[in-house]
Every structure is written in structure tokens, then in C-alpha cells.
Amino acid sequence: VNDDLVITVDVDDDSVLVSVRGEIDRANAHELEQRLNDATRASVPRIVDLTEVTFIDSGGLRALQMSAQRAPLRIVLPEGARIARTLKIAGIHELIPIFATVAEAKEL
């Protein structure tokens, strides 16, 4: 619906990786939540890479939180990413584990 948001899902033996690019707001947050929920696999970690996300509002944060409540979720977001401050202010790291790289997220 919104060209500003691109979501890709990579499934391999040891993880499901959802990569998100663009802007997440109330208009498309439900799309992200749906894609995250669809990506849930038993026994394999589910990782969402937000490195390329340039904007997220509280609607998007809520989508992450709701999906994480359904099934374990790991966020990949490096220190200097554009939405890092927003997630920090919202206290997302207290709800969902955040890793600097995809490799680290897979490792644990």
C-alpha cells in the first residue's frame, strides 16, 4: 500500500529474518505486524532488521510490541541508526532484545 515501506522475509535453517526498509507509521503498521506474525516459526528465532528504517512512530512501535507478545522476537538495530533514539525513548529495549547486527541476533 505504501511505497515507503519495503518488507522482505528470508527463511533459513536457523532463523527467520524480516528486513524492513523505509518508514513505518500508523498507515502501514498493521502491514508490518501481519508480516511479522506470518514469519513466526516454531523453534527458530524470529529476527526483524530495522537498520534501514528511516522513521517509526508509536503506531509502528506498537506493532513490534504486539507481535513480540505473540512470539519471541529479536530486533537488529545498530547504535547510530536513525530510529535508534525513538526506540530508546519508548523503552523498546526493555521489551524486546535489540542486537547491533544480524549475526549477533542469530548467535544467541
Binding site: D25, T54, F55, D57, G59, R82, I83, R85, T86
Partner: protein
């Protein structure tokens, strides 16, 4: 009827009893006067005959004539006895028996006794003895005895029969008298009961007369109380307190029911403690609450203490504390639908008291129904008028960034009267902008309609004319044909951006105020004309003109802004001048808010409209956008805003935070301000001050009746607070205002 029946029964009884009684008396009389003498005479007849016979035999045996004396006297005595008997009333059998006995005695005397006496007297003792021993006399006398005995037997038999008759008659009379006594007793009992009932009915009718009078009084007082109430809750309050008084109910309520949605809410309550109110909530999901049952049955019900103690124990405590013995629920029907439920806590649970309360409610519920329906209609009309007005307002949009325009409308403090104030902003050709403020006379739907017509006429005509005075004359012609628009006031200001200058004309409307950047203020009051279509035809309407500079603000308003009771309008105008001059550096949006805040008082009863327009610097210090309340508009707005920030070289990491904070403010308005069915408009206004502050306001004109109290909770609020240097949310009479300030610290200047 009862009495005549009573006497009829009595007469019948007497008629039945009388003949046997008479018979009985006659028999008794007969026995005394005839049978007893007859028996005595018959007995005497025998005795005297026996004496005669004894004397005759003694004479015959002894031959002494002294023995003959009884015979001789007996002859007379027996004749007397027979005569006596014959005088008495005897039956024919008895008479025959008497004659037989007399004949037998005569035969004895003639054929028995006399021959023996003659023989004895003649001294022929042998013949006498022979006669005696022949036994002829004895046999004849025995025959007499037999005849006499049969007479006695007959008389005795008659006496016995008479005794039996008397006895039977007595028994019958006694029986009839007994029956009569029973009937009389029964009738007396029935009669007494009937009398008692009649007395009670009279009692009841006296009481019901008093009740009826009370009911009439209640109807009168409730009806008149409801007549002066307009809103549903006012009507409900008048109804429930009035009826509650009449039945001395310690508490009562009116719930408004919407059958189509199943929504129920309290429109009015009294005497209900918080506990009582809250505890009902506990049961509100229960399909068996009195109210939900009532909606199904459409019949009133009385819940007794025992009922609610069993089913709603928490209510029981609270009602007991209130001194209530039963709760009465009555549906208020309108066109067959339950539109409301009246409930009253009754202090007296006895049937008579409950029945009286029920009767009162039965009578009043339809009246209350009418009143509530009327109030709902009234509120509906007011809502339509308000919606109409809302739809007609808010045209302060301009895409021209060389000007900023803000407008405010505040409804009259008695919010149910929609006023006739209106404003409009029309972009014209040749860099011109027409600003119009008007005030149609009166209130309500008619005034709103008139205002809409004037506004449409103005919008249609504005493009075609160049001089505002000509536009005003056209409007006047229009108003003359539109009765509701007669005497409306109107102010037209045309802002010529190229010159720059303002042209203006007023028809009885308070003058526009011009505030220059240096604080100089001027009322444009040199061309004041009469209101539209106010009697005299004034074809001489002329427009005024004044040049303006960048940063100059022009404020148009309606009289509600400057008028106060017991105060000259000059004082109000002066207050407006001072306030506007003070706030001249504020963005026009903020300036309008401050005017409303500082100039209106609790006493302001009229509605108020303000339009402020400012000629901005050529370079855009400002960013203003209006978007529909649609989440899909968030992205484009954000991108637009990001570009504007970029023009001002706001560092991107700073800009990211601004986009988040401003985005939250806009998103909240989009999500919370408007019902889904009625999308509205959200206005973003951003400006950079001389002191290098970026000030952003986000405004919605959300639900006109109930401003959303505080939609900015949780994460959105947290993000705005963190990213902005100053952050404030205000609930406005219409909508919500979010102000965000960001200190740019000189980082923006190229």
C-alpha cells in the same frame, strides 16, 4: 333489592307456617271444647248406666225398693249424658255409635231390666229369679257395654289423632320457624356484608378521589417542569424528581435506551449514591437486569426487596440504606420502542402503595415519553444546526504561503443555541483574498440556514466584483429576498497581496482591526453602513482602503468577542486592541487562541467568530497544512514538512526527532478527534521565530460536543515530550491543540 328479597322470603315463610299453625290451634281448641267433654260424657254415660244396672240387680235380688233409686235416677242421668253428647260436635261414626249405645241401653231397660223389675214388684220372685238366671238382661247390658266401648274408642281415637295432628303441626311450625330463622340470619349476614362492602367502597372512592387529585397535581407539576426543559437530561431530571416527589421515592433515575444499538445511559438520577450507581454497572452485562428484561417485555415491573436481595445482593444493601422497600421500573415507549426507563425506589412495599406508584407512572410515562422524544428531536436539530455551521465554517484555507490565515468559532455558552456567526475566506484572482465575517440575526437552524445562504451568495459573487462595496450591495439585494437574512451584519475585507493593501466595507458590523508589526493598531471604522436590508435602501455603500506592510495582521470578528454585559462596547474594543497588539508576534493561530482565551468570560453568551490574516514575509518562515483525518495522509505531510525543515537546514538528526514528535501530534488528531463516519480536518502550523524557535501547533476541530479529554497518552506523549523542548496539550472548546517548540540554537541559518 336485597331488602325486598329479604321481605319476600319472610312473607313466603309466614304463608307456609300460618295454615298448619291455625290447624294446630283449631285442633287444640277442639280437644279442649269437644273431645274432653265428649270423653267425660261418654265415661259418665257408662258409669251412670252401670249404676242403673247395679241398682236394678240389687232390687231384683233383695226386693228392697231403696235399691231401685239408682236405677230411676240413672235413667235420668243417662238421658242427660246422651243429651250432653248430642250437643257436642261428634263425627258421624260417633253419632252412630252413640245411637247404637243408647238403643242398646233402651233395649236392656225395656227387654231386660223392666220385666225383671215388674216381676219383682209383682212379688213374683220365682219369675224374677228365672228371668235373672236366663241372663237376658245381662246379655243386653253387655251389648250396651260393647256399643258404649266402641263410642269411647272412637272418641279416644279422635283424640289421639288430634294429638298427632297438633304434634305434627307444631313440628312443622317449629321447623318452618327454624328455617325462617336460618334464612333471616343468612340474609342478615349477607345484608351486613353488603353494607360493609358498600361502606368500604365509599371509603375507597374517597381515597381514590384523593389519589386522583394528587395524580392531577403531579401531572400538572411534572408537565410544567418538563415544558421548560429542553435537553433530554433536563427533561429527564424534571420528570424523575417530580414523579419521585409524588411517590416519596428516596431515589430515582431515568435511563435513556437506544434499542437499535442497545445503549443505555443514565440521563438523570437523584438520591442515588455512588455505590448504587456503580453497583448497577456490575450487573449491566447481565441479561436479566430489570432494564434489559423491560426492554424485552415492554411492561413495567416491580422488583421487591426479596427479589433483589436474592438476585442483586449489592443493590440490596444500598437500597436498604436508602430506606427503599421495592424498586419500580417503567418503560417509556414511543412508537412502540422503549426509549427510556424510569426507575424509582419506593419507600413503602405494601401492595396499595406500590399500586398507587404504578398508577402514577402508568399515567405519566406516555407524557414523559412525548417530552423526551421532543427533547431528542430538539437535540437532533441543534446537532444538525451545529453540523451545518461546522460545515460552513473552517474555510480559512489558503495555499498561498505569502499569507497566513487562522479562524476560530466558539459556540454560545448555552451550547445548545447555535448562533448565526459565520466567516469565509475566498481566494480571488489577481493575488487577492476575500475575508468575510457575518452575523445572521437569531439562533438555531433558521439562522444557520440564512448564514449559509449569505455565505454561498458571497462566495459566488466575490469573484465577479472588484470593489467590496459592490459585493456588499449584491449581498444586500440577496438579503432583501431572504427573510432570515434580514438585518444580518457583514464585514468584507479584500486583501490585495500585490499592492499590498486592504479594501473593506461594513454593513453594521464591528470594524476590522489592523495591527502593524511595530504595534500600531487601527480600527477600519470609516465606512460603517447599516445592516443588510435594514429598512432604508442604502445604495451609497462605499468601501475604504488602507495600505499594509509585511507582518501586518488584520483581525475580523463578531460582536461576541468585544461585547460584555453592563459595559460599553468601546471598552471591549479597547481590550481587543491591547490584546492583539500584545500578541502580534505570535503565529495567527496562536493569536486567535489568545484572543479567545483573554477576551471571553463566563458571561459571554453569544457565539464568537474570529478571522485573523497576516501578510507574511516573502520567504516562508511558515509551514501550514490542512489534512483530512486519514492515516494515509500522514506520510505525504511528513515528507512535505521534512522538505521545509530541510530548506531551513535543520540538521537531519534533529529533524528526525521533530518528524516523530509532530507526527505523533498529527496522528493522534487523525485517530482520536473524529468519529469514523465523520472525517474532519487536522491543521499543522509551523513557524520559525526571530529568536530561532521552531513553534508548531497541531489542531483538530474534533467532536463539537465532547472534546476528547486527553487522547495523548502513553508512548505518543512520551515521544513528543522527549523530542520537543516545550510541549503542551490543550483541550479547546472545539477540538484539541498540541503546541510543540524546538530550540534551533542558530543551527538553521545558512
Amino acid at each position: 333489592l336485597l331488602a325486598s328479597g329479604y321481605f319476600a322470603v319472610l312473607a313466603l315463610t309466614v304463608a307456609a307456617v300460618l295454615p298448619p299453625a291455625i290447624i294446630s290451634l283449631r285442633r287444640v281448641n277442639e280437644r279442649t271444647n269437644e273431645l274432653l267433654p265428649a270423653r267425660a260424657s261418654a265415661q259418665a254415660f257408662l258409669t251412670h248406666a252401670v249404676d242403673q244396672e247395679t241398682g236394678e240387680r240389687g232390687y231384683v235380688i233383695t226386693g228392697q225398693s231403696s235399691f231401685l233409686q239408682p236405677y230411676v235416677s240413672g235413667l235420668q242421668r243417662t238421658r242427660d249424658d246422651v243429651a250432653q253428647l248430642e250437643r257436642l260436635k261428634l263425627t258421624s261414626d260417633e253419632r252412630i255409635a252413640l245411637r247404637n249405645a243408647t238403643d242398646a241401653l233402651d233395649r236392656w231397660r225395656v227387654n231386660g231390666a223392666d220385666p225383671e223389675i215388674a216381676a219383682t214388684r209383682a212379688g213374683d220372685s220365682a219369675k224374677a229369679r228365672m228371668l235373672v238366671s236366663s241372663g237376658a238382661a245381662k246379655q243386653l247390658f253387655d251389648e250396651f257395654r260393647t256399643e258404649q266401648a266402641s263410642l269411647s274408642d272412637l272418641i279416644d281415637a279422635r283424640a289421639r289423632q288430634s294429638d298427632r295432628d297438633v304434634h305434627a303441626a307444631s313440628v312443622f311450625v317449629l321447623a318452618m320457624l327454624g328455617l325462617c330463622a336460618v334464612v333471616v340470619g343468612a340474609l342478615a349476614f349477607i345484608f351486613a356484608r353488603a353494607l360493609r362492602r358498600a361502606a368500604r367502597e365509599e371509603d375507597d372512592s374517597t381515597r381514590s378521589l384523593a389519589d386522583a387529585e394528587n395524580l392531577q397535581r403531579t401531572i400538572a407539576s411534572v408537565t410544567s417542569a418538563m415544558a421548560s426543559a429542553r435537553t433530554v437530561s433536563e427533561v429527564s431530571r424534571a420528570a424523575v424528581t417530580g414523579i419521585g416527589d409524588a411517590v416519596a421515592a428516596p431515589f430515582g433515575s431515568v435511563r435513556i435506551v437506544d434499542e437499535s444499538t442497545g445503549a443505555v445511559y443514565f440521563a438523570a438520577t437523584y438520591g442515588m449514591t455512588d455505590t448504587l450507581n456503580k453497583e448497577w454497572e456490575v450487573y449491566s452485562d447481565n441479561p436479566n437486569t430489570p432494564v434489559s428484561m423491560l426492554v424485552k417485555t415492554r411492561k413495567r415491573m416491580t422488583v421487591t426487596k426479596a427479589d433483589y436481595t436474592k438476585h442483586y445482593p449489592k443493590i440490596a444493601d444500598a437500597t436498604a440504606a436508602a430506606g427503599v422497600e421495592a424498586i419500580l421500573y417503567v418503560p417509556v415507549l414511543q412508537a412502540g420502542d422503549v426509549i427510556a426507563v424510569i426507575s424509582l425506589g419506593l419507600p413503602d412495599g405494601r401492595p396499595a402503595a406500590v399500586a398507587y406508584a404504578e398508577a402514577t407512572l402508568d399515567t405519566l410515562a406516555p407524557i414523559v415519553g412525548e417530552a423526551i422524544a421532543r427533547a431528542q428531536l430538539f437535540e437532533g436539530e441543534q446537532q444538525i444546526a451545529a453540523t451545518l455551521q461546522n460545515a460552513m465554517l473552517g474555510q480559512e484555507r489558503t495555499d498561498d504561503e505569502r499569507v497566513s490565515v487562522a479562524a476560530r468559532y466558539r459556540a454560545a455558552s448555552q451550547d445548545l443555541f447555535v448562533g448565526g456567526d459565520w466567516y469565509d475566506c475566498i481566494e480571488l484572482a489577481n493575488d487577492r483574498l476575500a475575508l468575510i465575517v457575518g452575523d445572521a440575526v437569531g439562533h438555531g437552524v433558521e439562522a444557520t440556514a440564512a448564514m449559509g445562504q449569505l455565505r454561498s451568495a458571497a462566495a459566488g459573487l466575490a469573484e465577479a466584483v472588484s470593489d467590496p462595496a459592490v459585493l456588499m450591495r449584491h449581498l444586500e439585494t440577496f438579503a432583501r429576498r431572504t427573510p432570515a437574512a434580514t438585518c444580518a451584519t457583514c464585514l468584507i475585507v479584500i486583501l490585495d497581496l500585490a499592492a499590498p493593501r486592504v479594501q473593506y466595507v461594513s454593513a453594521g458590523h464591528p470594524p476590522a482591526l489592523v495591527i502593524d508589526p511595530d504595534g500600531t493598531t487601527t480600527f477600519l471604522d470609516d465606512v460603517q453602513g447599516p445592516p443588510l436590508a435594514a429598512g432604508v435602501i442604502d445604495r451609497r455603500r462605499h468601501s475604504g482602503e488602507r495600505s499594509i506592510e509585511f507582518g501586518t495582521t488584520v483581525v475580523l470578528y463578531t460582536d461576541g468577542l468585544v461585547e460584555r454585559r453592563r459595559e460599553s462596547i468601546d471598552v471591549g474594543l479597547e481590550r481587543l486592541r491591547a490584546t492583539a497588539a500584545r500578541d502580534r508576534a505570535q503565529p495567527v493561530e496562536e493569536m486567535c487562541d489568545r484572543l479567545l482565551r483573554d477576551l471571553l468570560t463566563e458571561e459571554t453568551i453569544d457565539d464568537v467568530a474570529i478571522v485573523a490574516v497576516r501578510l507574511e514575509q516573502a520567504r516562508s518562515h511558515r509551514f501550514t497544512r490542512r489534512i483530512d483525518s486519514d492515516p494515509a495522509k500522514l506520510g505525504p505531510l511528513r515528507h512535505d514538512f521534512a522538505r521545509w525543515l530541510d530548506e531551513w537546514s535543520v540538521p537531519s538528526e534533529r529533524a528526525d526527532g521533530m518528524l516523530v514528535a509532530v507526527g505523533e501530534a498529527v496522528a493522534n488528531s487523525v485517530e482520536h478527534a473524529y468519529p469514523l463516519a465523520e472525517p474532519g480536518v487536522v491543521v499543522l502550523d509551523a513557524g520559525i521565530d526571530d529568536d530561532d524557535m521552531l513553534r508548531v501547533t497541531v489542531r483538530d476541530h474534533g467532536t463539537w460536543r465532547e472534546p476528547v479529554a486527553d487522547p495523548m497518552r502513553g508512548r505518543g506523549r512520551q515521544l513528543m515530550k522527549e523530542f520537543a523542548d516545550e510541549f503542551e496539550i490543550r483541550s479547546e472548546p472545539v477540538g484539541t491543540l498540541v503546541s510543540l517548540s524546538f530550540n534551533l540554537n542558530g543551527s538553521t541559518r545558512p
